[in-house]
Symmetry: C2
Subunit: 387 residues, 2 copies
């Protein structure tokens, strides 16, 4: 007589791309050359000043716990970053340093999701968000965002989906998988709408800094009453360090601290000391060069994909993804992705991972590999499609 | 109109010792010398071979995500550690590497706690356990464990507290705050009892390796059907690295992997490469010397505390805590701890952090500082009590 796992598990999906990645690695182990465009991870190593700061700290040997909400000097450095780069003033006491953006999402949702409450998310969107809501017994509600709105929600979407059980909304800018931004005026209207209804707004800004037309502002410019989820993984190239942060509306800081003490104890000490070097001018110089490189890749990849028949309903302005409609090329993007991997050695992410609205007609390409490899991928896809 | 945080927050307590620690740091900043016996953290730096392994990996710069359940070679090294040191054979596929034991507890409870289910814990016990249960909408039920049972539960306790809503039980050996072990025969009876009732048994072994009479066996010797929560923090002196692991009964490995992918992505890459050196003979040599030092401290501290009037109902056999009954010295251990800090400069943890059964009559002393400091603390407490 064995207990069943909790019912929430039945509704939590694995990442489909992981199976594809396993398959890709098996092919590589058998000697095949695979071009990886499936992974949401920058291909650049962590900038040298961050490595050096971590090495210095490691050499001391006493790698003890930090306070639950993070090193005071790192919380101050993050606040200073908001002030100088984004022109917003945030008290360091509102910043909780976490184990990746995952830790920040977990704290925010553990704090705000009541059992049975509904949470508005976008479809397509980052697949884990719905599962975080489910973990705390909330109900994710997908807003089918439209290409004509650049796959971002509108205040009308909020009005249409809101009911007496709705607890709040979680949106991303730049977004995964689409790479689009929420217009600041629209987000302002959304924030007012959510506030009027007595709900909670969470904005995922983990791709902030990786925008290619403009240095996008933070939602903190609009209101102090928004939870902001952030990460050192993407712009700062620190994925494997597992460090991020949450900006917390003032009145929830005590609740978030209690949760952090209990659920995490603290984030990685080594990562926090490394991150102290993330805002140095020499680090930012490196990161801005890489941002320019991501822009070059996007500017190459998007028209190249279009020339092959992939349709981009909304040009990506940030992150490192091209979210394409492939419905004129295949009726089933999942099967297409498998064939593309096996026959052309190009790994991409099928739409299945990003929602239920139109998963079979979309594919996400990540430009997290160099331009020469992107060119090789385009050649391979062209040959694949011609067969 | 502001939303309230989720109702679970009202039942989650902050650590009381944190307020005391803040107070202690303020006193230190004002020039006072404080002896820290309140912190559950080894005072030893991370062993040099672990530091060196992390430094070598950091120098490469490419600190990318690992698989969600951890580096395959680390999962194998952990399995090998169980085989050679504890004589149990565990498939590496059953090991999930996590961000500290906190991450392991979170995965196990997210997987097994259904809303409204009751979970049996010990009182006194590690305070976060009840809050993890609450985070997933379960109801923690404290078993008042007795000094005559060495503060560990019995099969009769399970029978007495089990009802149709009970989902499982979570116990620790060695335990915090008492430092006592569960007798292996008793644990076997408990495991059979829980299995017969169709419940889940989770055993916290984060202090494994830190035992002073014997090299305690793992609960895995009893059954493959127990979740084991483990940590690199305590025996391996890696607190600030935030690394631990969960041993998962075979049939839940897929659920745990889904949860890890969604809630964490992965544990720290640097910490995992460091931990590969944790099982090297030269590291174990260092750790065994430190274990001997902890034993010397315990053997000094326990009789010294008893000579001052602190009563130890059960001699600690492991971890680095002495859990004392101070009811002949004070009616209120919380107030006593505050006075002891302010007037004698000795920081300890009041019983309030470990349960509701007898919090005002107990104090936990951590022997996470050197013998000379422990002697100084005993002198100060003696003077304090004489006033």
């Amino acid at each position: 007589m064995h207990p069943l796992s909790a019912s929430r598990l039945a509704n939590i999906e694995p990442f489909h791309v992981m199976e594809l990645l396993t398959h890709a690695k098996a092919l590589e182990a058998a000697g095949r050359d695979i071009i990886h465009m499936e992974i949401g991870e920058p291909d650049f190593p962590t900038p040298a000043p961050i490595i050096a700061a971590a090495q210095t700290r490691l050499a001391r040997g006493d790698i003890f716990y930090t306070p639950a909400l993070g090193l005071p000097e790192l919380r101050e450095a993050i606040a200073e970053h908001y002030r100088t780069r984004y022109g917003v003033s945030i008290a360091p006491s509102r910043i909780a340093v976490t184990a990746g953006a995952s830790g920040a999402l977990l704290l925010a949702l553990a704090c705000m999701v009541s059992p049975g409450s509904e949470w508005l998310l976008t479809d397509p969107g980052y697949p884990c968000n719905a599962n975080f809501v489910r973990a705390f017994e909330g109900l994710p509600v997908g807003i089918q965002v439209r290409p004509e709105d650049r796959f971002q929600p509108t205040p009308e979407d909020i009005e249409r989906h809101w009911n007496e059980r709705t607890g709040g909304a979680l949106f991303a800018s730049p977004a995964n998988p689409t790479g689009t931004l929420i217009d600041e005026t629209v987000l302002g209207d959304i924030a007012r709408c959510v506030a009027k209804k007595g709900g909670t707004l969470i904005v995922d800004e983990i791709y902030q800094g990786l925008t290619y037309e403009q240095d996008a502002r933070s939602a903190l410019s609009i209101s102090d009453d928004i939870f902001i989820v952030q990460s050192f993984s993407k712009y700062f190239n620190m994925t494997g360090w597992r460090l991020g942060w949450l900006v917390v509306p003032e009145r929830y800081t005590r609740d978030i601290e209690k949760l952090a003490q209990n659920l995490f104890i603290a984030a990685s000490t080594i990562a926090q000391y490394g991150a102290l070097a993330a805002f140095l001018p020499e680090t930012i110089d490196i990161l801005e060069q890489r941002r320019a490189e991501f822009k070059r890749r996007r500017d190459y990849l998007v028209p190249a994909l279009e020339s092959l028949g992939f349709h981009l309903p909304a040009k990506p302005e940030g992150a490192f993804y091209a979210y394409t409609d492939c419905s004129t090329l295949t009726p089933d993007s999942h099967q297409f992705a498998l064939s593309l991997l096996e026959r052309a050695g190009v790994a991409v992410t099928p739409g299945l991972d990003f929602g239920v609205a139109a998963p079979r007609s979309h594919i996400r390409f990540a430009y997290t590999t160099g331009i020469e490899r992107l060119e090789e991928a385009i050649d391979r896809i062209r040959t694949f499609l011609a067969k």
